[in-house]
Symmetry: C2
Subunit: 234 residues, 2 copies
């Protein structure tokens, strides 16, 4: 039974290997299961996934293209480090994309987009209630990604997704050490944003998106400052 079901070698469809490796490594990187700077070994991955190095390599090339891993030619490849010194450039880009995607969603959304957005909104509220930090991070990102999709500008959406990914890493960094809650206020702000989008109120969506983004940035900076303080104290 288990023999035929989970056959040890190959029961994989032809191009699915790379996607599987790509998705899994991506998640492990974003959840900090693979620490920034930690080495990535091709043969090790090949053994782990029971496939040759070729598809592994393809997945790594893709991850490198998105800046999630760094490659030193002829030497090693490792998980991209988090650039604390230039964190402000990240915040700048994040705030602007929150604004733009929310505004565009108010302008371009279609009726069928709203239930999807509301669904993630409820997931987020549930995550807040349960106090599951990882779920908060993930559902918040999904909520805003859905809004961006409704804005229907693939250039903004792809940059925004990249920023949300990077944000997932950064938040994970803090929420693994400190049991901190996202304030309830964020849930209310999400509700306001949905209302502005539904009403097609561009200016309100813009303003709320900006304010919400700045709240989140402040929250992260507060954690950042406190962590530094503790680090110095220890």
């Amino acid at each position: 039974m288990t023999d035929t079901d989970s056959s040890p070698t190959l029961e994989r469809k032809r191009g699915s290997g790379v996607k599987m490796v790509y998705d899994l490594l991506r998640d492990e990187i974003l959840d900090l299961e693979l620490a920034p700077g930690s080495p990535i070994d091709e043969v090790q991955l090949a053994e782990r996934f029971k496939m040759s190095r070729t598809p592994i390599r393809e997945a790594l090339v893709r991850l490198a293209g998105e800046g999630l891993i760094d490659t030193l030619p002829n030497r090693s490849t490792m998980v991209a480090s988090i650039d604390f010194l230039n964190m402000h450039t990240f915040f700048d880009a994040l705030v602007l994309m929150y604004r733009v995607t929310t505004r565009l969603a108010a302008q371009n959304h279609r009726p069928e987009d709203l239930p999807i957005i509301r669904g993630f909104h409820e997931d987020y509220a549930a995550a807040i209630k349960s106090g599951d930090a990882l779920a908060m991070i993930a559902t918040n990102a999904a909520f805003h990604a859905a809004i961006a999709e409704a804005g229907r500008n693939p250039y903004f959406t792809s940059l925004f997704r990249r920023l949300l990914d990077e944000g997932r890493r950064i938040l994970r960094l803090y929420y693994q050490s400190y049991e901190e809650q996202f304030p309830q206020r964020f849930v209310d702000e999400h509700a306001e944003i949905i209302a502005a989008i539904t009403a097609r109120d561009l200016e309100a969506a813009d303003r709320l998106g900006k304010a919400h983004a700045e709240q989140i940035v402040q929250q992260v900076q507060k954690l950042f400052a406190r962590k530094n303080q503790l680090d110095i104290a220890l």
Copy 2:
């Protein structure tokens, strides 16, 4: 002499093959030497560059990551087509990035950035004078990319580069059929932008960047409309 110098097979350094293929294909795609939708054959490229399919493949994966080629699994891979229907999303993103990068350059540039920007400005003026459409397109993109670099936000810079690439393709599309000149006005606007950046005048840089971008968008839309008119007439 020529035998040892240009030895027919391998005198290539170890990781340089992919880069060469990547750069060359990228240029051919952006200059429309490879038409959108035209097929890309791996073995053909392997023969052309006298290397195995592996490095070719890696270059293609990278190009696919940047959206320059589309891959149909198990079937074919071809040059990405230009999406005329959603051109406005491209223009929206382009205008915003012009604004943001120009503003940030006014804020964050260092003294050593200015000569580089001025250099591309002169190249652009020369291209306008000589009437070389391709050089106009290339030097204009280089000018604004340099400004973006001076703004020192890698997230904006990378999106902006992607947009400038796509713009290079679109402009190339029109300037191959119509011998049109970029107006002299663009040169003057470039000079104003440099002045605003040098003076660290954020608001002026923002305003000029936006106005300049909208000028360019208008220019393209004018060509676009005229082409459609001609297409209908024929």
